[in-house]
């Protein structure tokens, strides 16, 4: 361990002597303290939080991410190019210890910077909160600067798929469909089936049953929040749609009904419901009456959520920073792994290219969903399934399988909406991002570094 710590200490020393730490710290502080001070929020608790948490944490993540990649590529590749590694590698220290020491150095440097900038964001948040109007401060205290657990309707993907296949088989009995058309037909049928579970037609009820699970045991006497969002194909003059809500145990007196609510589409709405409306099994039944002339669509993914108090904001904030830290640890491993076999500029380019791929995973997902990279042939109206599709689509699937689990953690979104980031979520992030993916990348990097001849470079100090 003494050897690994010595290498780790070296990274810190380099960061301080080259004033890298100072520069990044100043940039971070300027971004998280300076700019929010000059930006104006809309005076609401949510707008205020949007600016402070979303903006500052996004900037921290971006700045730290880029500097982590740059530093991790540089610390190893430059040691090799400038030949210092030739002296280090002739000491009784394993290549894996050198690699791990450098990773630990970068990761601990990141931890320091993250704590510094996170403390600034937290302090600024508390200070600016005192300047909001009293009513908004209450919203901030109860809805935003909290850690709320989320309960959602059960996942019905399997049911949808089953119904889709049934309908497809019936359709196939009537008409012959094959190849690309079959894929397209299945997709359309699935959307139709899915719509059945999402739509609230005019003058009809739409019902959700949400299991609060184990949380029901400590939610007695505590008001809950509903977070809803719907889409519509038509826009009326007022821009809002009216609805009535009923929450409670059906067939009993334990039911709460709302006044008519005017809600805008394509936006999240949060409102409180009284305590103890769930049944003995912890199931909360929610009904929405659509009193408009337009069908409303509540997306399965985030159309209906029940938020319940789970903990304080401070710990939630720390856990959120913890997930960002896990991302940095993975980026450090990626940078070091690429520097294990590439020169500094190429390693930096390679790592940044990987980052671009991660950010463009939406495009990849669309290609995978379409089943083609060539898109629809506008003349024939068909999708072309070429050799490129046979090669690239599985490749994209592979990339998405790696990228999605990492991207699925969204601490910034959770913090800005007051959702709880549980310890188990942080643990899962650590397990998946750091141990699984970071560990895999590290093993590849260490193996490449261990095999590399370190004296092929001529010193260029």
């Amino acid at each position: 361990m003494q050897k690994i710590l010595a290498i780790c200490w070296l990274t810190w020393k380099a960061a301080f002597r080259f004033r890298l730490f100072l520069v990044i710290a100043v940039l971070l502080l300027a971004a998280v303290v300076g700019l929010p001070l000059v930006l104006q929020d809309d005076g609401t608790a949510r707008g205020f939080t949007q600016i402070l948490i979303t903006y500052t944490l996004s900037v921290i993540t971006a700045l730290l991410g880029l500097s982590t990649l740059w530093l991790s590529c540089g610390t190893l590749a430059r040691d090799i190019e400038e030949c210092q590694i030739q002296v280090v590698a002739t000491k009784p220290v394993g290549r894996w210890q050198i690699w791990l020491g450098k990773w630990l150095g970068i990761v601990s440097l990141n931890a320091g910077l993250l704590v510094l900038s996170g403390a600034c964001v937290y302090g600024l948040l508390q200070w600016r909160a005192t300047r909001l109007p009293a009513g908004e401060q209450e919203v901030l205290r109860t809805q935003v600067l909290v850690a709320r657990g989320v309960a959602q309707p059960p996942d019905i993907s399997a049911t949808i798929d089953e119904l889709t296949d049934q309908q497809l088989q019936e359709r196939l009995k009537q008409t012959q469909i094959s190849g690309a058309d079959l894929v397209q037909a299945r997709r359309q049928i699935r959307e139709q089936v899915k719509a059945l579970f999402q739509l609230a037609p005019p003058s009809y009820y739409h019902e959700w049953q949400i299991d609060l699970g184990f949380a029901r045991n400590f939610l007695h006497g505590k008001p809950l929040q509903l977070r809803v969002k719907f889409n519509t194909a038509q826009i009326n003059q007022s821009g809002t749609f009216v609805g009535l809500w009923q929450v409670g145990v059906p067939g009993t007196a334990n039911v709460w009904r709302s006044e008519p609510m005017s809600l805008s589409p394509d936006a999240y709405h949060e409102f409180a419901i009284p305590a103890d409306l769930f049944d003995s099994q912890g199931v909360l039944t929610i009904n929405f009456l659509n009193v408009n002339n337009t069908t409303l669509l509540f997306p399965l993914e985030d159309g209906m959520e029940v938020l319940y108090p789970e903990g304080g904001f401070t710990l939630n904030f720390v856990r959120g920073l913890g997930i960002i830290f896990c991302w940095m640890a993975l980026l450090a491993a990626i940078g070091l792994a690429s520097a294990s076999f590439l020169s500094f500029p190429v390693a930096a380019f390679f790592s940044l290219a990987l980052l671009v791929v991660v950010f463009s995973s939406g495009t990849l997902a669309y290609a995978v969903e379409s089943g083609t990279v060539t898109g629809v042939n506008e003349e024939t109206g068909t999708t072309g399934y070429s050799i490129a599709d046979h090669v690239l689509i599985p490749f994209f699937k592979g990339i998405l399988a790696v990228v999605n689990p990492v991207r699925n953690f969204s601490p910034i979104d959770s913090l800005s909406t007051g959702r709880a980031i549980s310890w188990s979520e942080l643990g899962a992030a650590f397990g998946q991002i750091v141990l699984l993916f970071g560990g895999g990348v590290s093993l590849i990097g260490i193996a490449l570094f261990a095999r590399r001849e370190l004296a092929t470079a001529q010193g260029n100090q």
């Binding site: 003494q2 050897k3 710590l5 010595a6 200490w9 070296l10 020393k13 380099a14 002597r17 080259f18 400038e82 030949c83 210092q84 030739q86 002296v87 280090v88 590698a89 002739t90 000491k91 009784p92 220290v93 394993g94 001849e453 370190l454 004296a455 092929t456 010193g459 100090q461």
Partner: protein, 403 residues
């Protein structure tokens, strides 16, 4: 004791001692991006280095010396052949705790100061804090950087970087010291100290491998050498065997009265033709003269902002040996200790090609001599040693220094 007998004893001692480095059929071919052979840097090389030897790798630039060194250190991998260091692969990590390496350039971290540099490398050897501090202190004093230990290495002159490089190579008290161009960038004082250090290490039974293209360095300290050219070994053997001229003899005496000298020459001429007998004043070499000049300047307390002359060899490196004897004693010591590989004799005064004896010259030689070299006026205290620096530069270039 006859030289042949000494050689024989030395060989027996060598055969008994441990093989530290074994190189068999070593070939290194550098390849291009497409894996096509680009250069054959080392070509089918075989040699062994035994414990206590000072072994020289000699050859012109690009002959394969440094590549061989890097192969021995596991920094490059052989294309063909086999290397063992202390019976293990060069990539065997625990074995590296017995090796000290000084690369041909200063490959140290520019942002660390000299103390931090030594502490860092001490940590890599897992030295406990007390021992690390102790060795760091002694090494800094030894290499003459005790007064600049808080300056970062990036600000050092090349010579100072070599000195701190040497210190890091010795932090672990290594059994095998590999020095790649050890005197490169050093001033003549540093060169002398480096050579003294190598001899001191050899006296402790340490093995030293040095790679150099400076023939004087190798000649001064090495027991055995290999001479490379084009990646192949062109010659190999003990220096005294390679350089000895058994058909000639040199006698050195104090200045003799003319009559005595004539009588001696008369006797010699009975057995040797007159044109084969030479008599002249032996000259000290430039290194000795230079060191004498600097010694006088130092006694006059001239200050310098750079590295000062190193102190004694660090105590932990001297453990088990007596204080370093003067040059003449070293020769005797080595002759008397044949069971360890005997280090080469320190430089002897060089006899330039002298003219054949003639009466006129004899007259000159037999005068009770005023010294041939005029005494040097010491530099006054507090005076900036500018002239000395110029002399340093000139002499460095004369001696092949690269500063």
């Amino acid at each position: 004791m006859p030289v042949a007998e000494l050689n024989r004893k030395s060989e027996i001692a060598n055969q008994k001692s441990e093989v530290v480095v074994s190189v068999r059929g070593l070939t290194k071919v550098f390849k291009d991006f497409w894996n096509r052979p680009k250069a054959r840097a080392v070509d089918n090389v075989d040699f062994e280095v035994r414990q206590g030897e000072v072994f020289g790798l000699l050859g012109p630039n690009g002959s394969g010396k440094s590549t061989t060194v890097k192969l021995m250190l596991g920094l490059l991998y052989p294309t063909k052949g086999h290397i063992e260091v202390f019976g293990h692969s060069p990539r065997h990590v625990p074995t590296k705790s017995r090796i000290g390496y000084l690369p041909e350039e200063s490959y140290l971290y520019r942002y660390l100061n000299s103390r931090e540099t030594l502490e860092f490398f001490g940590n890599l050897f897992h030295l406990p804090r007390g021992e690390r501090d102790n060795r760091t202190e002694q090494l800094l004093e030894m290499v003459g950087l005790g007064n600049v230990q808080t300056r970062v290495v990036g600000e050092f002159s090349k010579g100072m970087q070599r000195r701190i490089g040497l210190a890091q190579a010795l932090i672990n008290d290594p059994d095998l010291v590999i020095l790649d161009e050890p005197t490169s960038g050093l001033d003549p004082i540093g060169c002398r100290e480096m050579k003294d250090l190598i001899l001191a290490l050899a006296r402790r039974g340490k093995t030293v491998i040095l790679s150099s293209h400076l023939l004087a360095d190798v000649e001064d300290v090495c027991d055995r050498v290999v001479i490379y050219y084009g990646g192949k070994i062109q010659a190999m053997g003990a220096l005294k065997e390679l350089l000895a001229r058994p058909d000639t003899l040199r006698i050195t005496t104090p200045v003799l009265p003319r009559e005595t000298l004539e009588r001696v020459l008369e006797i010699i001429r009975r057995d040797a033709a007159a044109d084969h007998v030479r008599v002249d004043n032996p000259m000290q070499n430039l290194e000795s003269y230079f060191l004498d000049v600097v010694q006088r300047a130092r006694q006059a307390a001239a200050e310098t902002s750079g590295a000062i002359s190193g102190a004694r060899v660090a105590a932990y490196l001297r453990a088990g040996i007596q204080e370093q004897p003067p040059a003449a004693e070293k020769i005797l010591e080595r002759l008397a200790l044949p069971e360890t590989a005997p280090p080469a004799a320190p430089p002897q005064p060089v006899s330039p090609a002298a003219s054949a004896v003639n009466e006129q010259k004899l007259e000159t030689l037999t005068k009770a001599a005023a010294p041939a070299i005029s005494p040097v006026k010491p530099v006054a205290a507090g005076e900036e040693p500018a002239d000395l620096s110029k002399a340093d530069e000139k002499l460095s270039s004369l001696l092949g220094g690269k500063e």
